[in-house]
Symmetry: C2
Subunit: 107 residues, 2 copies
Amino acid sequence: MNIQFKKGVLELCALTLLAKKNRYGYELVNEISKNISISEGTIYPLLRRLKNDGYVTTYLEESKEGAPRKYYQLTETGKKMEKELREEWLIFVKKVNSFLKGGVKNE
Amino acid sequence: MNIQFKKGVLELCALTLLAKKNRYGYELVNEISKNISISEGTIYPLLRRLKNDGYVTTYLEESKEGAPRKYYQLTETGKKMEKELREEWLIFVKKVNSFLKGGVKNE
DNA sequence: TATAAATACCTTGCAATGTATAATACCTTG
DNA sequence: CAAGGTATTATACATTGCAAGGTATTTATA
């Protein structure tokens, strides 16, 4: 899969999944991997960015299956960001598709 | 507009426009800019990459309106690439949209 | 003639972000 | 206690878009 397509979209995917419920990093990797190939080395730095930017907060919880899990929870800013990014994405896709269909305006 | 969304997509846009007819760099900047904000500093390096990778060939033509124009022409490899990238893009969009609609499989 | 503006091309350094790889740590099972 | 799955983190790297700046040509303006 084209690596470049993913840039910026993974953030949207992560925010979207977190908008439904709190999840831990490893879980996000697995969920996203079902549709888009992705590795751990991608998600964890992304989650740290989201936290640094104030879009999520984190808390630890024990797990019966291994190491403790760090859960990520959207902040209000994060929820707002999720909506904005989603809208931007839909507009962007429309514009690109208008190219593919040969319909460049004013030509 | 989100910069990251553009990654890789601009290449597809350029290839798509070139699939219709040969164009010069400055023209591509203007055409793409009608839909997606883009600067010359993005297109010229991109076109050089396309040439280095064998997707386009170039030739010069005089212009009455300014400096000579460097036209870009798709090679056979370039045409193939355009199709592939287009298909990859459409598949990718579908996958992302399946996230946005909340329909992550196997959940 | 000189100056400005538009056209057209190119280069450099930077920022953002995905990847590969490895290290660390926890827990369960044999 | 060693092995392997679970889970997080860190580092070095590659790609690509952007801003800023530069060059050259033509035409219009002063």
